[in-house]
Symmetry: C2
Subunit: 331 residues, 2 copies
């Protein structure tokens, strides 16, 4: 089907790159066998990526996206979800709807990126499915992991008085997207290594996978993956908890890479894949020592107030600059 | 995005139809929580379906496919894989890349069929992802289940002297496909109920989900899902076991629905979603009582022979009629 690669060939390339175990632990039988740890809870997530046309809303990647980076990212965004529930990623399956004429070299590079992310995270490829697509390339990964005990890091566990804390490079991915779109105008000249830090945050994100399990074990009351940016994700966290989150834009952690962005732009940007948590006061010191930054605090809604986010700028109530949304809503 | 349905709307339709539990057990948080039973092994499989153009090889379904039947089938084929490992299906996630303009009624019917299969099998929808597709509709399901103990029904466990036994309506799906293609010529006039037995076997397959766990518990040494038909799947089973399977075409269980097909045509047809097992002699009686039919026996290869299938017709060595392959290789 694909230039120089049969369906079995497509599968072999990925299995070899990922060092997939032999059946029935991994691919090869009707289904894969997963050995569950004697205790703990399993956490499962899935994400689909569809190839599309530049700058059309809803598009996830372009064929010109460096394939090695795409392989990495397709897995990383799933593992970020698993970790944000307080679980350690353990395994994943990959399904791909592959168009005719996809270059074998593209697929090989994609597999290498996928495998690199899998190795870095300690997650094993245990199965998948490869089919032909009469349209775009569609990639789908389902990933899972295990918690140490019975608890998971839910979105709805926060309490009034908890501190709102984040870990991850807020805004870098957004800056990377801007850099990427500029490069697109000049012909998409990016190699697999991606040396620019902002570009790397967008093309090859490295979610803090240890942050979720650590936060769960050290007293966080709620947590969520920052996949769509603070401006979109924090209202979801507030709603899940039924609380008002007062957030100080000036408290965003200093990041020299993001020196060219305003706090509003950093807050509005998506695909940060950081972790937002609510932390009882007595644990805040330990979280700061672990690399979390405190952005504000949770409180009960008062009067007719609805759960949500109240933004502050150096203490004064404020709105996020609308231009930030306009810039980044397509990202 | 879709006619009358936002992305959240698409998700809500499916969650409501399937009675999906609330977060974090089901959809709604970063990932789903799955409660593992205290013992047993987990089994995971995934299958992607891509919408395509009629009669092009590699195409899985057409928009004109009755959407309720498609929802049923998309899940059933995954659950069949899970059951063929000896596990009871427990949960699944659905990812869909949905084109603009997909009618809301189509999606609603698809969700109802999915939910009907989920209820019948006792499998819960616990998550998923819905994205926009600039091309065809792409559906992907990852499903899993649990075994009672440590063992799974592998493909490679068979021993010389085992009987080859099958359960399921071999050939019905093939006949259903033929009926379906004839209907296609006259305008695809099939309603959701699908009253014709052969058509139902193709459009709305009902794999014997209890057969795998039962066979594992009652002494089967190997097993596999019959998704591609005897002619394609049995050589795979033989190769996995390193054995020669001698298969009697006249032993195919009588099925009045398939009276119009030759044994060769029934053997060559795909998508039966039955179960093939290898069974030690002392257990054969119990398997027959449970609805399995004996098709032949496994033996060691002799001389320079390679593992594979030797077909017999009323005892005499034979080849499968080539015309059967020609008819059904596109199915």
């Amino acid at each position: 089907m694909t230039e120089g690669l049969s369906e079995a060939g497509l599968i072999a390339v990925v299995c070899e790159a990922c060092g997939a175990p032999r059946t029935p632990i991994g691919p090869g039988d009707d289904a894969a066998l997963v050995i569950a740890p004697p205790r703990g809870r399993q956490v499962v997530t899935t994400d689909a990526l569809v190839e599309g046309v530049p700058l059309v809303e809803g598009v996830h990647f372009l064929r010109a996206h460096p394939p090695e980076a795409l392989g990495w990212k397709a897995l990383a965004v799933n593992l970020s979800d698993v970790a944000a529930m307080g679980a350690r990623p353990s395994a994943f399956v990959l399904s791909a709807a592959v168009p005719e004429g996809l270059p074998a070299a593209w697929w090989g590079a994609f597999a290498r990126g996928l495998a690199a992310c899998a190795r870095a995270a300690g997650a094993a490829l245990v199965g998948g499915d490869t089919v032909r697509s009469p349209g775009p390339l569609v990639l789908n990964i389902t990933a899972w992991g295990w918690t140490e005990g019975d608890a998971v890091l839910r979105r709805d566990g926060g309490r009034a008085g908890d501190a709102l804390m984040v870990r991850g490079n807020i805004g870098r991915s957004t800056l990377g997207l801007l850099n990427w779109l500029k490069l697109a105008e000049s012909g998409w000249g990016v190699d697999g290594a991606v040396r620019d830090d902002a570009l790397a945050a967008h093309l090859r994100p490295a979610p803090p996978l240890d942050a979720g399990p650590w936060a769960l074990a050290h007293g966080a009351s709620a947590g969520m993956d920052l996949s769509d940016g603070l401006a979109t994700d924090l209202p979801r966290l507030a709603a899940a908890c039924g609380l008002v989150l007062e957030v100080e834009l000036a408290a965003l952690p200093v990041d020299p890479v993001c020196a060219g962005l305003t706090p509003d732009e950093r807050a509005a940007g998506g695909e940060d894949y950081g972790l937002a948590v609510l932390v009882p006061a007595e644990h805040v010191g330990a979280f700061i020592a672990r690399g979390f930054a405190s952005l504000g605090a949770a409180r009960q809604p008062v009067g007719g107030e609805r759960p949500g986010v109240l933004w502050r700028r150096h203490g004064a109530p404020t709105e996020l600059a609308a231009s930030a949304f306009a810039h980044f809503s397509g990202g």
